[in-house]
Symmetry: C3
Subunit: 159 residues, 3 copies
């Protein structure tokens, strides 16, 4: 009965500061000996797009427009005081200066530590994204029921 504690994070937000928080909690939870799964959905999918910057992914006009507006990992806004994207860059500067891991470093570290990364099937479908549009760290595209099944004994955090 020494099953590892489990933590599942639904990463719904695509805000730079919240994604940093999600990854910080994920890596911190790995460091404290938990099994961690991250389930990226909706805005959170921006973090995982291979093609960075604004792109016209998607299979019709609507999903293309959304994907373009959402941008990618390098254009994530802050949840507050975004100032047209200047603030995330300032914050990244502050983080580097203070030797705090930045987002690309956190993403790499999480995968290296064994955090499991899933992308939400339904959100991918709505946005017209395919798994090959996402970075290799994504282990699978799964439905919410599959995710919840695997998270049966996990604490679930929604970010």
């Amino acid at each position: 009965m020494t099953a590892k504690k489990k933590l599942s994070i639904v990463c719904f937000s695509g805000d730079y500061d919240k994604v940093i928080a999600a990854y910080t909690i994920a890596t911190g939870a790995m460091a404290t000996n938990r099994e961690v799964t991250m389930f990226f959905t909706f805005w959170g999918l921006n973090v995982l797009k291979k093609q960075q910057g604004r792109s016209w992914l998607g299979k019709d006009v609507l999903s293309r427009a959304f994907n373009f507006l959402m941008g990618g990992r390098n254009t994530l806004p802050l949840s507050r005081l975004n100032f047209g994207g200047i603030s995330p860059k300032l914050m990244q500067g502050m983080m580097k200066k203070n030797h705090v891991a930045t987002l690309p470093e956190l993403i790499e570290a999480a995968s290296a530590l064994g955090v499991r990364i899933y992308a939400c099937e339904m959100a991918m479908h709505i946005l017209g994204l395919r798994q090959e549009d996402l970075v290799d760290e994504v282990e699978d595209v799964v439905g919410v029921a599959t995710f919840l099944n695997e998270s049966e004994d996990a604490h679930i955090i929604f970010i």
Copy 2:
């Protein structure tokens, strides 16, 4: 000791995309054999208002103004890129086109599946709302302590 797993969702947000996420998780959790309770508070109460569109519910000028500005289920904004309400309509279109359940369908499905719906007593009080202002799916208006008591063995998600 085969007690059903429980999931409780505090639905604080009234953003269209987040409410969709809340209901998707709720119905997904029912499908994976959990007992699910949703506790709607503050902005989330918009989802449950009987009278849709903007309305002047409330018992004084302040709560009437707030209720008017909050609108109802049909005027929920997106948490990002709302563009004055155009985006939620676009998204609804994208969801219909992709045969994904829309919000009214999700709400109906959740109640049909047995998801328990509570409204937060304190928020109702602040906003001057009464239970008869809310849809019939609301099982009860309860305080946060009652909700937490019932959620003693539940995982709690805040959306």
Copy 3:
């Protein structure tokens, strides 16, 4: 085996309405016999700043600018319909009128009830804040791993 249930709240948001929700859940959880820990990070740190109103705390230009813009407990915005800060004041009026505890009352009550308050080390570091900049209710400044370790058996809510 009568260990007390535990609840941990990551208070990431500095929005007035969300902070009210966090404290309401925290005090409600104490009332229903749980051990409660609140971990304030990023925008949430505004709630804990000793010096209220806008201030130039921080050790360099960037962190000073951020601290100034973030303001303190008395300038927290609403997550929606903020209208340049008028709405939080209206809401505070509505809460007083309805005999609902306001934020300063909730903060005091929570500490009196024994809610444990932590500030996030990394966020303090990025923002150039020191423990003496925060109110006395803050028990300690800890890293996320410490917080997660102490929350091993706790349900975790992210707000």
